[in-house]
Symmetry: C3
Subunit: 475 residues, 3 copies
Amino acid sequence: MRPLILHPDRLFPTDPSVRPIARRLYEAVAGLPIISPHGHTDPRWFAQDQPFGNASELLLTPDHYVFRMLYSQGISLEAIGLVPNGGGGTSVDPRAAWRILAENYTLFRGTPSRMWLDWVFAEAFGLTVQLEAASADLYYDTITDALATEAFRPRALYDRFNIEVITTTESPLDDLAHHAAILAENDRTDGWKGRVLTAYRPDPVIDPQFDGFRDNLRKLSDLTGEDAFDYKGYLAAHRQRRAFFASMGATSTDHGHPTAATADLTDAEAQALFARVTADSVSDADAELFRAHMLTVMAGMSVEDGMVMQIHPGAYRNHNASLFTRFGRDKGADIPMATEYVHALRPLLSRYGNEANLTIILFTLDETSYARELAPLAGHYPALKLGPAWWFHDSPEGMRRFRNQMTETAGFYNTVGFNDDTRAFLSIPARHDVARRIDCGFLAQWVAEHRMEEWEAAELAIDLSYTLAKKAYKL
Amino acid sequence: MRPLILHPDRLFPTDPSVRPIARRLYEAVAGLPIISPHGHTDPRWFAQDQPFGNASELLLTPDHYVFRMLYSQGISLEAIGLVPNGGGGTSVDPRAAWRILAENYTLFRGTPSRMWLDWVFAEAFGLTVQLEAASADLYYDTITDALATEAFRPRALYDRFNIEVITTTESPLDDLAHHAAILAENDRTDGWKGRVLTAYRPDPVIDPQFDGFRDNLRKLSDLTGEDAFDYKGYLAAHRQRRAFFASMGATSTDHGHPTAATADLTDAEAQALFARVTADSVSDADAELFRAHMLTVMAGMSVEDGMVMQIHPGAYRNHNASLFTRFGRDKGADIPMATEYVHALRPLLSRYGNEANLTIILFTLDETSYARELAPLAGHYPALKLGPAWWFHDSPEGMRRFRNQMTETAGFYNTVGFNDDTRAFLSIPARHDVARRIDCGFLAQWVAEHRMEEWEAAELAIDLSYTLAKKAYKL
Amino acid sequence: MRPLILHPDRLFPTDPSVRPIARRLYEAVAGLPIISPHGHTDPRWFAQDQPFGNASELLLTPDHYVFRMLYSQGISLEAIGLVPNGGGGTSVDPRAAWRILAENYTLFRGTPSRMWLDWVFAEAFGLTVQLEAASADLYYDTITDALATEAFRPRALYDRFNIEVITTTESPLDDLAHHAAILAENDRTDGWKGRVLTAYRPDPVIDPQFDGFRDNLRKLSDLTGEDAFDYKGYLAAHRQRRAFFASMGATSTDHGHPTAATADLTDAEAQALFARVTADSVSDADAELFRAHMLTVMAGMSVEDGMVMQIHPGAYRNHNASLFTRFGRDKGADIPMATEYVHALRPLLSRYGNEANLTIILFTLDETSYARELAPLAGHYPALKLGPAWWFHDSPEGMRRFRNQMTETAGFYNTVGFNDDTRAFLSIPARHDVARRIDCGFLAQWVAEHRMEEWEAAELAIDLSYTLAKKAYKL
């Protein structure tokens, strides 16, 4: 079996005149606490602190980054333990599923998944050989055994990972019971002190094409006592739920739309549109216009209540129709699309872009907009900040392209540091570590080119690793 | 005269901590046989093994990469010996044409053409000084004299270049007589053993806007005995010709469409559309829809007969209207266009994308789709693989961008190695050599960043140089 | 206070095997005269040679690169001395405005503005400490005092900066009085010999959506004696003003359109369209079509009179509606847009693209078109040349992307060297210096990769720094 080595210089520039600078910058930020202001971990983990299951349940079957790659090479999802819709559990032995991953681990060469997994294997579980067919059982047993111990419970990992705060993402219809339980725990004198915040993600009650949209509005009415089928009641219900989320610690909202379109309708137009999108059938154009209008409405509510607004546009969800029919959402078939921002954001920015107290954090899956559209917009509008390289671009080369293409026009201070945006809890330190290494390498390169002094880079390294995220998200 | 030097370290990373790794990786792949699974050499060369003509006929007038650059700086095509339509040959002395190239060779600084030509000059013809005005005649004579010798016949060059297999591209209307002659030669005990395969390129009978489309259908009817003006007969004729091509050794089809649009019509819709596109005049929309539908049909036939399907979309052909009128096709005026894939490919992929036994190799001229669309699609769909950096991007920087932007999301194993896609036979080893150098340099960089071990890079170098192409094209 | 250091190796590659080559190349071009063939300095400066005002008036309030960044972080434009429309001057103390810049100078880390300003501080004003709160007054006094001296008059700076020729940009309605004054001065035996040319920028009389378009046509009629509301008279007026500009030394025209659309209408179509766009209200489509048609008309006039044609497409002007209402144009809110060239330029190129005596210099704000569209177009059409990395891309990384993505397909000789395109006069040497450093670093890298010989790179360095601009603009 081959040794598994996480080299201390990994991801640093190779140039001998640059690497030592990167090392020095990184040394000062490697140990900073993790601010995780946006992601998809499950608050239940921290509320109930139950052990995770076996290696496959933890690291393989829930991670569509991982199984999409196996699938792309002809391995069926069933073979690794995924369950088709309506199926009542899998008959696949999790150890057998793990072996498939091990036998095909060469497929991940060069991918961020490989880097994150290797960190989890080496740093979280202490494994010292590479994952391959020969080490599959060693891996499976080591990981599964560890997960049964106290040290691998969610709260213990949170503490060990040096997380200062982590944010989950919930629907307005969520009762936030887990967050309430965590807050109660926080309040106990000898209780666990981890901070697990929620974020207000209203897509299920804003997107007329969301599964169960009208049911969701009914639930929203029930929850709030407002008539969510009446436009004014609908807005009041949003305000009420936002206030509830804020009272539970939320500092941000999040909006995952197919495009970046915004609109700023008159009340009369909005009411008429709302009547149409809450009817039996909705046209694509009406759905798009309503989503667009609601982004501007949400920005207005953020001006009122101070919640930071995140926009995540540009994914074609569930591109693989037959896979979606069989397995449902989040199966690795969401594909980025070209996304236009200049015209799309203008209605919202014309209305609220000059508000210095509003923060809109914009993400993109379309790197072509970095230098062309997003950096110029963020380098001008007080309300607009740029989220880090997102999703497939949350990778060493992706982050380098982000800094290379954003920095000269937007500067560093119109960006908001790093967030991991993941449900793979164990990979969170690895992801932040990659970001810190890449940012330190980037800064070191510019120091070596005499574009800034090393003391400036050292300040920036801390800002990018820690301070900017904390400040932008008001944490 | 200045010396002509092909430095052994050319195109390797300059970083002293990376270059030695690149050298080691390259050393192990430099001598591997050439797999050339897609290109446009003329099978007649290998069937008849006649000598090539003079230096200008071989290297200047047929190569639109070369003469487009001269043309862009105001040199007329007539001056270098190209013949306008209907003209009966050129009165230009080929030596004079060659002198024009020599005098303007500085224009090629920094271009891949310069690199390929210098390889041909130095390695194929043994020239030791740079091409410039002063060396024009030396070059012309050296090359022209060599071409008259046995060692420069097509088969001798094939053997000397260490080509294992080369694929040409033919219309379904081609009788493949040259390929038959080569197969017969292969079968002779002491015959030449070179493998020259064909690929099925049905654009002339699929694209309703192809010159002579209806004539082509008539010929297709004649060839097959099917009524190619009847939709069912038309499909049967395709099946028959595909079977014939396969019987002659073809393992792949190739489709050069203006866009990546696919469609999946019902039989009734397809029949009605076919009636319209085979009529006297065809609308742009109908032509586009028929091409789109036929890509899906061809994928279906590939599922049946196992032929690998290549798609080459995104060129605006013959952009220069007056040049096209005077000189015809392939005169350096084909210009890449922005190309959308996410919506375009969905009909085909929804129908056949999950077929693990189907291989669709997709090329693009639009690098913006690398990280955004193509890598995510290929990193998910079992049927989809990514062709190498194509055409203008078949260049050192173009290949680097390809690897940089594709690898993290698609991995290496959803790509298919290198192909040269050229009709410039003598440049084929140079092109493969450039690709091997760039890939080894790319891998060396990642080794030096500790993103993989050197033994992994060594495996990958062989895969990218040889194995992946052989496997993907079933050679 | 921290020292301000302009390191002699700044912006060179850091690789120890490349940097010495870059140094050698740069040494030979650092002192070459500046050719500034396109920009927006004020000819009045050179005609009247009056002193500039204080530090803020010179460097802060007119430079939207600088104040947009402050604004993006919540600093109001009023606070730094900008005056809303209709306001009669500012009550802000320029020293107080300067202090705001000083206190927030960290925002500029990593931006080209920081690099240009630091050059102006260190090289033009001899400052030896960094700009920060503690040095704000020292800076303000040093700069303001210097500006009152003879050595900082516009002509003295022109001479000191080693400018060989500088081009401004004027409307056809301009009487070019300042240029006339400069020419008269040039003619005096002991007069100042600086060359300050104009360029013909007809947007105000070509774009039907330009503020005051019909008034402008009235003025054009008055100036020329032609009826500029009649299409033939309108064209004659253009010819007359172009001839006047040429007689005053202009060698170029410039066209700033929202898109790159061109059209080639018949006379009858053009006359009918002209009647519509000169009427009371104009549709967006008619305005676009007229601009498109006029680009082709202007190209035709350039074939006649030999003026070089520049096209600057792709900016969404005045994106921030409320800021525009309050402060007007050029306030940092012009945002680049995706720009299509392949279809857009075809009408013009079909008509005039094969004219070897015509030079069209094309700029873009959309880097995605570099390798995909512009390099292939310029690598084919004799009339087309590529302007340098423009605007936000006039930056170290922007220039590197330009060379990286353009060179392999367009070559170096279809580009036209550098131009600064600025109204910030003092930054001009800094901008040319950045371009020379980046180009030398780029060439050094390719030498070190053995893609060209060092003597070839040395020739190219001079071409890119000096010769190409001079030749392309016929200076």
